[in-house]
Symmetry: C2
Amino acid sequence: MAKMTPRKQASRLSIDDRTADILAAAREVISVKGYENVLVADIARQAGIVEGTIYRYFENKRDLLVKVAEVWFNEQLAVDSQLPMIHGTQNKLRHIAARTLQIIKSEPVLSRFMLMELRPDPNYRSTAFFEMNRRFTRETLQVCKDAIASGEFHADVSPALVRDMLHGCIEHRTWAFLRGEGDFSIDEISDGIATVVYRGMATQPASTDNAARIDAAVARLEAVATRLGGPSAA
Amino acid sequence: MAKMTPRKQASRLSIDDRTADILAAAREVISVKGYENVLVADIARQAGIVEGTIYRYFENKRDLLVKVAEVWFNEQLAVDSQLPMIHGTQNKLRHIAARTLQIIKSEPVLSRFMLMELRPDPNYRSTAFFEMNRRFTRETLQVCKDAIASGEFHADVSPALVRDMLHGCIEHRTWAFLRGEGDFSIDEISDGIATVVYRGMATQPASTDNAARIDAAVARLEAVATRLGGPSAA
DNA sequence: TTTGAAAGATGAATTGCATTCATTAGTCAA
DNA sequence: TTGACTAATGAATGCAATTCATCTTTCAAA
């Protein structure tokens, strides 16, 4: 049915190479035009091929865009492995928050795509994206669970809720940035989140009130001990 | 240019009536098919008119959908006026959280539309939606500011961040629901959020537990020490 | 060095929408 | 009753995504 006006074809590549080419082209186009304005034709042109060819490698446009995000997401997951080295629950929370904000700041367009298009789509519920997303927030959950297990955190609020507070706050704060409403300070936000979550969950108040109380109590005990042991007690 | 095969026309209405009709029809169709699958033709059919007519009342499809959401949003805002009656910062926070969750639970499809389509779109940055959204989160901001002003909350974390934690958490928790991943408990979530935020921000630890615990421990140690050292110890 | 599948690449045609606009038909004031 | 005003109409258009019959390359076997 279709009559052809044949021209030179693009060089033939292995499936993997061509796929990688298209993904790279798509990523480039997305980062330039914003994913909402990307046309399949743009991506094809950037990849040096023709629209129809893309459909030999991807189900459809959305499938392609999802795969672009997945490549990027895997990159980000591979980068950070510092968390186990960090000590202290509050420091861990701060680190997680700061790292997420860093990612969003470095790739706003892809972040926007992720938050807008991938997260809510029920058709992609079972794809790698959700696995990755889960992996991504699982750490936070684990930090909370550990802190509860050790008695550092109250057990009266579910760890999942704490995780949602942390990641939800980051997202909410991020939207303003993605909408172009000015910049944000990674340190300020990650400090704030970690502070509120930590103080809100900690069984031992970090406040100086209690420090003073403890110091006073120790002093009284020292007085008793001194009396018991004689004047030599330090 | 266009040749007509004229049929009976829909009855003529005032601009306001026809607009309201279309909005109602759109809302009905959205709630049945999910807004992602709505066709202009569906809405027209539901309203008993023809596609072209819609464009006499709305700029385009998106404009129409936005207006649907705005109507709904105004309804919700009009419903709740209890906040000023509620006493106690923690109770206010809980009330705000619970109310938002209630809205989302009662109209999941419209909530989804709001979160997905309205919030991120830069083309609608200046519409009434953003005004309403602002109004909606402003309360939370005010509650925090008041608590800081009265010395009830620490001033070391910005009220805006606290607001983001509350609303961000709700959103994050809500996505699972909107994706169809089971139900959620309004009470559990709003309690949890209010608890963590309150404890995380309060200058006075809410629990006398630790103070009492420390005092009791010291008293016991003092008793032991006294027993050891003789009756003369205070 | 041919040759002939097999598989990749092509782009014209198709599809599925939203959107436009020339035309038709109610409505109502004069 | 009329005519002018304006709402309603739906065929035509526009614009992307997507399909698929056809063309090209590649490469192993003869």
